[in-house]
């Protein structure tokens, strides 16, 4: 039966060449950088595409039109939707910019289609706005607009509740509110215990994340909390996430990396000062890393970083959750077998760092111009690398060292 269908139409003008916009709809890494959580594509007419999101939703389809720089179309069969639909995208160059026209066709009528229609009416304008942001500036609004509460959190349990006189035992106890954030402006303070946010339960990390779902920076939400025995409600504005500055050129990025690596080498050398080879080999527990394996982990991470950047340079798809895996211990064992002493491992780490710096310095201008990729590398270097040792492994390193120095039983 030929059912009646409707078409939604969206347009947006983007300062980027049509070829780049086309790529953003067809290349798995580019798609993931503005539209979905990860994607697989066989980018040709008749080839498949599969997009998925971290909330479990997915859509699969086949490219039915494929004219690079001009137009493309694909079928869209999304999870839980009443039937397959079609997406048509046409691109027109206009004064150095690209006019993107997206049609979402084949939406049925009647009540069973209402939710689907509403979801796409809402989603496409936001996605196209993000496409523009990602192509023009590299900034992924889905990340940049994640609301920030501006709080630091402390332990909370029945004992602490009793001490504070709070009549509930489940909640989020504040350690601190940060300067310039909505939490500070709303008057929240240390030892307040959050229980509700935006009308939803928020008593631990998972429920807090659920309570924040769909919220954006700038939204005002009611917050319910206990201050001692008193239950209070305030309206709080969700803060913006500070958008980090990334170095503008490959040379500046390499220089920033060089400094960060030098600091890290100094830090790790200092932390390991006076550690004997025997201490460095003692495992705190059978399945945990010893100090040598921990240093090997940093070496493996640099090598993986290099291969990750190389994949992007190759215009190859970049894996999703696998971007940076925890290294398996036997791989680290392989590295330690080759660089058996702490000084040898630290030397190799320095060589690995040097190589990363040289790779960054050599990033070609066309890569830097592809902002979503460059931004990802630059964020990794400027945001993730500096905290890797102190935040992720600092405590582990201390504990491992303490355990190694215990007189053995």
């Amino acid at each position: 039966m030929p059912a009646k269908t409707q078409t939604l139409k969206f347009t947006r003008t983007i300062t980027a060449p049509p070829a780049e916009v086309f790529r953003a709809f067809t290349h798995p890494t580019a798609l993931r950088d503005w539209l979905c959580y990860a994607a697989q594509t066989d980018a040709r007419k008749g080839g498949r595409l599969y997009l998925w999101w971290d909330d479990g939703y997915y859509a699969d389809g086949v490219f039915t039109a494929f004219e690079p720089g001009k137009k493309l179309a694909f079928s869209w069969d999304g999870m839980g939707e009443p039937g397959p639909m079609r997406i048509q995208v046409s691109l027109a160059a206009k004064n150095g910019r690209t006019v993107v026209t997206l049609k979402h066709a084949g939406i049925g009528t009647g009540s069973k289609w209402a939710d689907t229609r509403r979801a796409f009416e809402r989603a496409w304008p936001m996605s196209l706005e993000n496409l523009q942001s990602v192509l023009e500036t590299g900034v992924d609004l889905r990340y940049a607009r994640l609301p920030r509460l501006g709080i630091g959190v402390a332990d909370f349990n029945a004992e602490i509740a009793a001490k504070l006189g709070v009549p509930v035992t489940q909640g989020i106890r504040l350690e601190i509110t940060f300067e310039g954030t909505g939490a500070r402006a709303a008057g929240l303070q240390k030892d307040d215990v959050l229980v509700k946010l935006g009308g939803k339960k928020a008593v631990d990390f998972p429920s807090l994340i659920r309570a924040l779902e769909g919220r954006q920076a700038g939204d005002k939400v009611p917050v319910v909390f206990y201050r001692g025995s008193e239950k209070k409600t305030v309206s709080m504005e969700l803060s913006r996430r500070p958008i980090p500055e990334v170095p503008a050129t490959a040379a500046e990025l390499a220089e920033a990396a060089r400094k960060l690596y030098a600091d890290r080498q100094a830090d790790i050398t200092k932390r390991l000062e006076g550690v004997t080879e025997a201490e460095a080999e003692r495992k705190p527990a059978p399945n945990e890393w010893n100090l040598k394996e921990l240093v090997a982990h940093f070496i493996a991470c640099e090598r993986d970083l290099q291969s990750w950047v190389a994949q992007m340079l190759n215009d190859r798809e970049v894996g999703d959750s696998l971007e940076f895996r925890p290294n398996v211990t036997i791989r680290l064992g392989g590295i330690v077998a080759r660089y058996p002493t702490l000084p040898a491992l630290l030397e190799e780490l320095k060589r690995a760092d040097d190589e990363s710096v040289a790779l960054l310095a050599g990033l070609p201008p066309e890569f830097v111009a592809r902002k979503h990729l460059y931004w990802r590398v630059a964020l990794w270097i400027t945001q993730v690398t500096p905290s890797h040792l102190p935040d992720e492994h600092g405590e582990q390193l201390r504990a491992t060292l303490d355990a190694a120095r215990q007189p053995s039983a």
Binding site: Y58, A310, E355
Partner: protein
């Protein structure tokens, strides 16, 4: 309208524990070892399931039941199929093995479903046979039964290669050479011939060539259409059997076999570089072509990527690559800047090889028990020599060129 549906059942007893069979239906790396060419799964109830094949076929769905070692069920919407269906797999321990019962239900009747029904019947029968082979022996029948042309590498045609060879086409596969005593040689094929058709299928690149190979077995005779320069020729060739390396059963033996290969290759490399000056080592045979140091850097990169790949295999989280994308000049340059001389690069290569050997020797028993992954790993590592020797050949030629007055 409540349409009539039918269910197709397949049953097989496999000599592997239920937990491993369960994993073979839920883990993306395990799925690609016997079933598809790649998979993305989120194995929890309601999680997504996506499998695809190089042929372009795919199926998408969601897990609807997951009981470790007992039961897996997922919805199935295959590309071009008239409607969604469901697959249910039940596992029962029996002696030391597992009885696998697979039911593909919700399949419609009549003409629109005829093609799908045929694919379900043939596809699952072949797949569960392969599931058994992979879990019991590690060998993927899709690979081991795949015949060989008997060619020693080649390139997908590009306009540049086409122009150089004078062939009037832009798509095809150029042969680098033929292997002794195999089908291509017997059929009179030679270096620089360009395949454009095999077994009646158009050859546009490696994917189409592999698809033809997957559809045939050793001993089949197929028509071949190729260009030799501007001349279009036709012949028939008999496909050869694939010589399969013995993968040693223990990681220690595998490590030792790989170590011996590396030692031979390292000796050949040392000989190549004996008496070579830094200027010679840095000589580019042509603009844009690698010098010998970049060749070494490429071998090191390869070794590193192998470590990461083994890491992924052990974790059961192998990445999917849409084909080989080649090595990156800037990465080689970075490596050469960290290890500036040929001796330094050779040393670094040896250290990486030693890391690989140490990694292999330490493979945990639970990984070795995953025969599909272990066999694939062993097979891959025992093939390294071929690739390294191609580069040793390039290195030799480059040094000779550098020494020409």
């Amino acid at each position: 309208m409540a349409a009539k549906t039918q269910t197709f059942k397949f049953k097989r007893t496999i000599n592997a524990p239920p937990a491993e069979v369960y994993r073979a239906f839920t883990n993306s790396t395990a799925l690609r070892e016997w079933f598809c060419n790649a998979a993305m799964t989120d194995p929890h109830k309601g999680g997504r399931f996506y499998v695809w094949w190089n042929s372009g076929f795919y199926a998408a769905g969601e897990f609807t039941a997951l009981e470790p070692s007992k039961k897996v069920a997922f919805t199935w919407q295959g590309r071009g199929e008239p409607g969604p269906t469901r697959v249910q797999v039940s596992l029962a321990a029996k002696n030391d093995g597992t009885v696998v019962t697979l039911a593909h239900g919700g399949v419609g009747t009549g003409k629109p479903w005829a093609k799908t029904i045929k694919e379900i019947e043939e596809g699952w029968a072949g797949s569960v046979e392969n599931l058994q082979a992979v879990l019991e022996t590690g060998m993927d029948l899709r690979f081991t039964r795949r015949p060989m042309l008997g060619i020693s590498g080649g390139d997908e045609l590009t306009p540049e290669i086409g122009a150089r060879l004078g062939v009037p086409v832009v798509e095809g596969v150029r042969l680098d050479g033929v292997l002794d005593d195999m089908g291509a040689q017997a059929a009179g094929l030679q270096k620089d011939d360009v395949f454009i058709g095999l077994a009646g299928k158009k050859i546009t690149g490696w994917t189409s060539l592999i698809n033809v190979m997957q559809a045939h077995r050793a001993g089949d005779t197929i028509p071949v259409v190729f260009y030799r320069g501007k001349e279009k020729l036709k012949t028939a060739m008999t496909l050869s059997a694939r010589p399969l390396p013995e993968v040693p059963p223990t990681p220690q033996e595998l490590a030792e076999a790989v170590r011996r290969n590396y030692a031979e290759l390292d000796a050949e490399l040392a000989k190549c570089f004996a008496g070579v000056s830094e200027a010679e080592a840095g000589h580019h045979p042509a603009p844009g072509e690698w010098n010998t140091k970049e060749n070494l850097a490429h071998l090191i990169v390869d070794e590193r990527d192998r470590h990461a790949w083994i890491d992924e295999l052990i974790n059961g989280e192998e990445r999917w690559y849409d084909g080989f994308a080649g090595s990156i000049q800037v990465r080689h340059k970075a490596m050469v800047s960290a290890y500036p001389s040929a001796p330094a690069l050779l040393e670094e290569l040896k250290r990486h090889e030693a890391e690989t050997v140490a990694l292999l020797a330490a493979l945990p028993p639970e990984f070795v028990a995953r025969k599909g992954s272990y066999w694939r790993l062993g097979h891959n590592l025992l093939q390294i020599s071929r690739h390294t020797r191609e580069h040793i050949g390039q290195i030799r030629a480059t040094i000779e060129a550098a020494r020409q007055p």
